[in-house]
Symmetry: C2
Subunit: 458 residues, 2 copies
């Protein structure tokens, strides 16, 4: 079996109007997991899109939202490609900032706008359009394909680990394409090979059963806000060193190869300073490689929110009865959420903060993929061929996702990113969009990945 990708590209082009119509249909179905809005309807729609192509399709229930599973056989069923995607999206709010309705695919200046058009419905359509083109060119799929399309990615994928464990045999595959991907700010396609882990925690302290007038008890009663301040201060010093004993124990530093890959990536430091209005980076860090390294190979202890007492205009003289923090720890290989949170608890107790409670509200371990894998090289070469610029390899990215749960069950299955996104695409924000040019390229790239994976002698 050899595949003429010029023919495949022609079919992709011929079908493109139909592809956009299918994307329009998919984004028109709201599916906000955080609000439990349209989830069942969207799972049904995605299942219909798979089954109308003849894929063996199941809507598989979990403790949370259902997973849509679809499987199709091909010419070479010794090879199985797993496609991980998600049909849920972020809330569209604030609605007044959208220039066109979030659930209505709208074309402006060569781009397609809608909630989920990039994250992740555009990628569901990308995979389908690529497989359609291969099927049309070859008469059938070149290999076995398995779709796992979940409905909880935007709320931390709480059900995906048990789902993978329970369906280990069903999901087994030789390679995987992850749910996102695209080009960087210079237009170079980027292949990302792993994700940091994360532990989300909600931390709180209560000092009284009600807010108390500060004139009465300001110099005699405990104050929850102060307890929170002191407890948090014990976690990280003002030079951004995390003080939890053992926190860094399992950190695997970036290798020579990792640093070499980071050196090829563009210098974003000036762009970061300008875009975010920063005066400096923490720890006095400077230089592209150092910043790139720290951003993905250093773990973090982040405060995402603080709440206590009176927050309105003017003042109110109270001792707040409670205080809370939303935090996320970004984890790097080989840290795990469970271990880090055990160390956090032990540290707080040791420091006299047994009254400071927390619960983990979600999380995953970090995941890495070996950059030396032939599959990774083929994906990068195919990207350069399609996008016209050299592909860059990110050894790991700073964000987080449930990739580790797949790696846990299938440690030998390489996972790559490939997609239609770009840095300006306003993912998770109003006016989310993808460029039409990138959507076409992502379909052609996906077709090449699956076609070559099916036929390469490797």
């Amino acid at each position: 079996m050899t595949i003429d990708f010029e023919t495949v590209d022609g079919i992709i082009e011929k079908n493109f109007e139909q592809t956009v119509a299918e994307l329009r249909r998919l984004v028109a179905q709201p599916s906000v997991s955080a609000q439990n809005l349209g989830i069942t309807e969207c799972a049904n729609l995605v299942a219909e899109m798979l089954s109308e192509r003849g894929y063996a399709t199941q809507i598989m229930l979990t403790d949370g939202h259902p997973v849509v599973y679809g499987e199709a056989q091909g010419t070479n069923n010794d090879r199985t490609m797993l496609l991980y995607l998600h049909y849920d999206v972020q809330p569209p709010e604030p609605l007044d900032l959208w220039l066109s309705p979030p659930w209505e695919l709208t074309e402006r200046k060569g781009a397609l706008y809608a909630r989920g058009v990039s994250d992740d419905k555009g990628h569901i359509i990308t995979r389908l359009a690529a497989l359609d083109a291969l099927t049309e060119a070859l008469g059938e799929l070149p290999c076995r394909v398995k779709f796992v399309i979940e409905g909880e990615e935007e709320i931390g994928s709480p059900s995906i680990r048990p789902f993978i464990v329970e369906n280990r045999e069903l999901l087994a595959a030789d390679a995987c394409i992850w749910e996102f991907g695209g080009v960087n700010m210079d237009g170079n396609p980027t292949v990302s090979l792993g994700l940091r882990g994360i532990a989300f925690i909600h931390l709180w302290v209560e000092s009284a059963n009600r807010d108390i007038h500060s004139g009465l008890g300001g110099s005699v009663f405990p104050n929850a806000a102060w307890r929170l301040i002191w407890a948090l201060n014990s976690l990280k010093d003002s030079h951004d060193n995390i003080l939890i004993p053992g926190f860094y124990d399992d950190v695997v530093p970036a290798s020579e190869q990792d640093l070499a890959l980071l050196e090829k990536l563009p210098d974003l430091s000036d762009d970061w300073l300008k875009t975010y209005g920063l005066s400096h980076f923490i720890k006095g860090m400077i230089g592209s490689v150092e910043l790139r390294r720290a951003a993905v190979f250093d773990p973090s202890c982040n405060i995402a929110g603080l709440t206590s007492g009176y927050q309105g205009d003017g003042g109110k003289t109270i001792i707040p009865k409670n205080a809370t923090a939303k935090m996320d720890f970004r984890l790097v290989p080989n840290q795990t959420p469970e271990d880090i949170l055990q160390k956090l608890r032990a540290h707080l107790d040791e420091q006299g903060f047994a009254d400071v409670k927390f619960k983990m509200t979600g999380g995953y371990p970090p995941a890495r993929v070996d950059p030396d894998n032939d599959y990774v090289k083929m994906v990068a070469q195919s990207a350069e061929e399609v996008f016209g610029l050299p592909a860059l390899i990110e050894p790991i990215v700073g964000g987080s996702g449930p990739m580790a749960w797949f790696v846990e069950q299938f440690p030998d299955m390489p996972i790559v990113t490939a997609g239609a996104g770009y840095p300006g695409g306003k993912v998770h924000a109003p006016n989310e969009h993808i460029k039409i040019k990138n959507l076409k390229r992502a379909i052609r790239h996906t077709a090449r990945i699956i076609g070559r994976f099916a036929t390469d002698s490797a």
Copy 2:
């Protein structure tokens, strides 16, 4: 001139229905300074109540809300009594917790309910009813009386200091009755002789021009919430010691006489633990006198509110662009807001927190009154006579108010509290009320204070 207070009491009793009617009329006029609601109307109403009695009345404009000034001559115009009061009230919200409408005087179980019925409209009426009874008994007032009734007490009295400075001669008096007062939880009348000072501050730090995804920059970008934590932590250690250099320099400790007065006050420590659900007091403090002493003679550094980043349900992975704290410093003699805030600025700069900004949103210095004054003794004896239980003297109270601005201009004028309040009166809360019994007693007490002040040979 001798005054038969039994006759005066009879007149107070005879007029009481009319007194309650006048209180009903006054609370029916909303006057929420924080919301600028009904202020002008209420100032006009109070002025009308003074002028219809023949007092020389002026509505005096300030940079904020007007002050109602009223003056009346009496038999002995060598003596002048100043009555400080305020016609503004706290917001009535949350409205759904009121058992009767906040602007409608309602009698239930021997008590009168309405917003402001205790703080402070009930005390305006108390002073008027006492003066009416004296006038009716004597044919005229026994001495000169000056009313200063301001409209910004509930928002920190920002205009009262310049008002007093500009009208120093107009306001000059030999003694003063402050705006509040009443009995303690055991029913003992309490005479309070001073107030702690306060400096309200709004403190903030900004680290970026927008919230940033924590997956991107969690280990490289500055985080405003962390900056706030570290800066606040530098102000007070976890043993509640305030760390600002020089903070305690001007503190005058409680004297032997102060401690002797505190010893006579009831032990509230168990009640505090139970009422507020506390497990302990700070610094391991125990014992009534020690707690009473710390509550009023120790300065405080209080956090009333913290705000940063995401505060909703679930999590959001952001690095917050800014973080704020609402704080109040309670000050004791001889601390001043200006000096303390200069020391705060110097400390933050010295500790590397020049990026942490603050502004003072209000404040007053502390105020003390000499407990050995004959006027104070007369007020206490009169209280015991009316309330039937020994009067207790609080050398200073933990709360704050603009008393210091009067002391600043009139250092020899003794100021006492006397009123109709009690600890269960829900001042500043829904269902604010006074007991009818206490209202009558407060009127009788006020009449005795003014009558004896006018006629005592001292």
